[in-house]
């Protein structure tokens, strides 16, 4: 083996030490902070699965190849991607590596006395010296009083040459604040992580008059944390009594939402006293640590379908999901009980109906000013019998044939109260009435008080650390010289930049009775 290479190679332990020192240096912290900021950027420019799944879907449709690459690189899920995680895990490691030694050091220095005066005070950034006729003890007492008044801790001792020295220090709590701040970053993360692991988030779309009970099957969508136990679902139930929405009718900001108000009846558990709650956008309902939020709204038209035999095969509210700011809403009606074949419809609910050659039927205003249903129909096998779960918003057209009339796809246009016949004697559809519907979000986020406490703690630590400026000051009084005068020296050192050390020292020396400026004894500060 090459001798030289052997000598310069580091043992694993040394290498580890070296890497750790590197990782926990301030410079690395700075670079990692930068990387974190950079790594967060793509998530704000590329649609995110967790934020807007429909945009991600549209993006994939429009750019299949690019979308595949984005998928591979985790660009649709930036904040849960490996590389984003790597940056913040490194930052956290660096943070821990930074906090531990500094806490130890701080603990030691906190209990230590203010350090003795350096031999040569004139070397310090600010230094004053003058002579006085006053007695050593009087001067020292004045200095000590002035320092204590400025909240310094003071130690008085006599040095080797018999001079009286006051060693003073203040601002110890700055470092405490700084440590608390950095520690609180970990507390916040712990709170967030706890909520993500032990919480859940679910969504349900509910028409007026419909009920919801807090069990898994009632959710349209349910996202539990990795460690959430389904048995912990609070057994509440609720009914949407009424929902009212108002929109701007004037020309300015026409169609902008003005108010959303839902009235709920709820039971905290089966058999409990029913209660009523006005649910609004900023007023969630809290039940045993679970919150119910009003996050959206739309419509659920009441539809009745008669089959080819003339029997009512379906009747009830059908949820339609809003697609744009005018509440053009998409929905599906499935009629598995129709005879002789099953029937399905898909299409739009338009609260304010309009039709143009370019856009086809669409809505021009979010409120139900001129409601209409536009549907196309299908017959055949809806595919609901093989036990696979199906979305209520998707029609699986594999086993279906589209209804046609005169060789064209058949299209139904219904206003409230109207009934129309399907072609070929397949039955009829009635738009029986209109209900509003709300999108509820139910969530349980256990760590949020921890996270909030962490942020507040961090804020307190940060303010402490930004506003307290540690400073050391020494005053040294030598006994009377041959001329019968006492020589006084004062000097100071700021541990952080940005303070006004000079004027602080001037105030101090004025309090000890240093003659005013421009007198011959004065010796300029260095």
């Amino acid at each position: 083996m090459d001798k030289q290479a052997g000598a310069s190679a580091l043992s694993p332990l040394e290498l580890g030490r070296w890497a750790w020192r590197r990782l926990t240096s301030m410079r690395t912290a700075l670079i990692l902070l930068f990387l974190l900021a950079m790594a967060a950027i793509p998530g704000s420019l590329i649609p995110q699965q967790a934020v807007s799944p429909s945009e991600v879907f549209a993006f994939r449709e429009a750019n299949p190849t690019l979308g595949e690459w984005y998928d591979r690189l985790g660009l649709f899920t930036v904040y849960t991607s490996v590389w984003f995680g790597a940056v913040y895990v490194l930052l956290m490691l660096s943070l821990v590596g930074c906090i531990i030694p500094r806490t130890r050091q701080y603990w030691r220095s906190f209990r230590a006395q203010p350090p003795p005066a350096p031999r040569n005070l004139a070397r310090l950034p600010e230094h004053r010296t003058w002579s006085s006729a006053a007695a050593v003890d009087d001067l020292a007492a004045d200095a000590e009083r002035a320092l204590r008044r400025s909240r310094f801790r003071v130690r008085r001792y006599a040095d080797d040459s018999g001079r009286v020295v006051l060693a003073a220090e203040r601002g110890r709590y700055r470092e405490a604040g700084n440590l608390v701040f950095h520690l609180s970053v970990l507390v916040v993360l712990a709170g967030v992580a706890y909520g993500a692991l032990f919480g859940f988030k679910g969504g349900a779309y509910l028409a007026e008059g419909q009920g919801f009970s807090n069990t898994l099957t009632q959710y349209d969508e349910f996202k539990p944390g990795a460690l959430y136990d389904i048995d912990d679902l609070v057994p509440f139930s609720l009914t949407l009594e009424q929902f009212e929405a108002t929109y701007e009718m004037g020309d300015e900001q026409r169609g902008a939402a003005r108010s959303f108000d839902a009235t709920l009846n709820y039971l905290t558990e089966p058999g409990a006293e029913p209660r009523s709650k006005a649910l609004a956008v900023n007023q969630p309902l809290e039940i045993g640590g679970t919150s119910v939020f009003l996050v959206g709204n739309g419509y659920a038209p009441e539809v009745t379908v008669r089959d080819g035999n003339g029997d009512v095969a379906f009747s009830g509210p059908v949820p339609f999901l809003p697609q744009d700011s005018s509440n053009t809403s998409f929905g599906v009606v499935k009629v598995p009980d129709a005879q002789p074949t099953q029937i399905g419809f898909e299409g739009f609910f338009l609260p304010t109906f309009a039709i143009t050659p370019e856009r086809g039927p669409h809505s021009t205003f979010p409120d139900a000013l001129r409601p209409a249903l536009v549907l196309t129909g299908f017959t055949g096998d809806l595919g609901m019998d093989d036990g696979r779960p199906q979305s209520v918003y998707v029609l699986d057209k594999d086993g279906l044939t589209q209804l046609e009339e005169d060789g064209e796809p058949f299209r139904l246009l219904l206003e409230p109260g109207q009934t129309k016949q399907l072609p070929g004697g397949a039955g009829s559809v009635t738009f029986a009435g209109l209900n509003r519907a709300v999108q509820l979000q139910v969530s349980h986020t256990p760590g949020k008080t921890v996270a909030l406490a962490g942020v507040l703690l961090g804020l307190a630590g940060m303010v402490t650390s930004l506003y307290i400026r540690p400073r050391r000051t020494w005053v040294r009084v030598a006994g009377a010289g041959p001329d019968g005068r006492t020589v006084v020296e004062a000097a100071g050192l700021d541990r952080v930049s940005g303070g006004d050390l000079a004027s602080g020292l001037d105030d101090l020396v004025a309090a000890i009775g240093r003659p005013a400026k421009d007198q011959p004894e004065q010796e300029e500060s260095s």
């Binding site: 410079r27 967060a40 934020v51 300015e252 969630p284 969530s443 909030l452 942020v455 506003y467």
Partner: protein, 320 residues
């Protein structure tokens, strides 16, 4: 007064304030122009006095030195800015009366309130640190923001009620904290610009004209830090405490990586990097100042860019 009358009063006040800001800007331009011409900085004048003993005393030397012209116009600029601030404030208050709520519901209102916060932060900075040299940058910035908000049709929004998500007192707290922090960040960025200019001159030893009259680089550096140290905790409170609490009430989650939230976080991280940089040898001074400017750019991008280009829950910009 009716709501419409309050609305017209508000627009009139914004227009008048813009005019007064422009006048203040003109005064500050004159201040810089005159300061360039006035050659003798203090040390030189002393020399002249010393040497002048032999020559017949000229009126210039013996008479108490007249106040330099740049001082006079500079002070006029400052007074005009104070006046503009008051009119501007009337505009914001009247806007609130016209909409019957806090005037923070759309981008036009954020612009006008944010610009007011910038002027306010500047006036406080002038009081605390005698930094009138900021006047030129501040009046130019505020005048442009106000004028654009009123003249660019896409940016103007007439007074009206709020969308439901904004019905919360956390809105008031969140936006107030963010606006004041933003005003201070702007002033911090302007001080950093002055610092860079002055520091460069000090390194090159060319301390004539305007730059020679600015405070020393070390002082500007200290002021920049203090302004940021004021703004940063406020920003932290606004976007990492009040913002999440409100988001939790309105949208059922306290943090969701919405584009606006992402950039508020990025801004926060870059300002944290600035504070770290100041504590790291080798990153103090010039590099830290560049970081402060980079951080302010992320702040501006979050404010302007995200409202205009990205979609998300924070799409209350009312733009377009």
């Amino acid at each position: 007064m009716t709501m419409t009358e309050w609305g017209s009063l508000s627009n009139l006040a914004f227009a008048s304030a813009t005019v007064v800001y422009v006048l203040a800007l003109v005064a500050h331009v004159a201040e810089w122009a005159f300061a360039r011409q006035v050659e003798p900085p203090v040390e030189r004048r002393r020399e002249l006095v010393g040497a002048g003993a032999a020559v017949p005393p000229s009126p210039d030397v013996t008479a108490p030195p007249a106040e330099p012209r740049f001082e006079v116009v500079g002070r006029i600029g400052l007074s005009l800015t104070g006046l503009a601030f008051v009119i501007h404030l009337v505009g914001v208050v009247a806007r609130a009366a016209a909409a019957e709520r806090v005037p923070w519901g759309n981008m036009f209102e954020f612009n006008t309130t944010g610009a007011l916060a910038v002027t306010g932060a500047y006036l406080v900075a002038v009081r605390l640190f005698k930094l009138r040299w900021l006047g030129l940058l501040v009046t130019a910035f505020v005048a442009v923001v106000l004028a654009a908000s009123m003249l660019v049709p896409a940016l103007y929004v007439a007074p009206g009620p709020l969308v439901p998500a904004l019905h919360s007192y956390w809105l008031v707290i969140h936006v107030a904290a963010a606006a004041v922090a933003g005003g201070a960040f702007a002033v911090g960025a302007f001080v950093s610009v002055l610092y860079l200019v002055r520091e460069r001159a000090e390194r090159g030893g060319a301390l004539g004209g305007v730059v020679g009259r600015m405070p020393a680089a070390a002082f500007l550096d200290r002021v920049a830090f203090r302004v940021h140290a004021f703004a940063f905790p406020l920003w932290t409170f606004g976007v990492l405490v009040a913002g999440p609490i409100w988001a939790e009430h309105a949208w059922g989650r306290y943090w969701g990586w919405d584009p606006k939230e992402v950039w508020a976080f990025i801004t926060w991280v870059v300002y944290a990097a600035y504070l770290h940089a100041r504590a790291t040898a080798g990153w103090q001074g010039r590099k830290a100042a560049y970081l402060a400017l980079a951080a302010f750019l992320t702040f501006l991008f979050n404010y302007v860019g995200i409202n205009l280009f990205a979609s998300g829950l924070h799409s209350y910009g009312g733009v377009g």
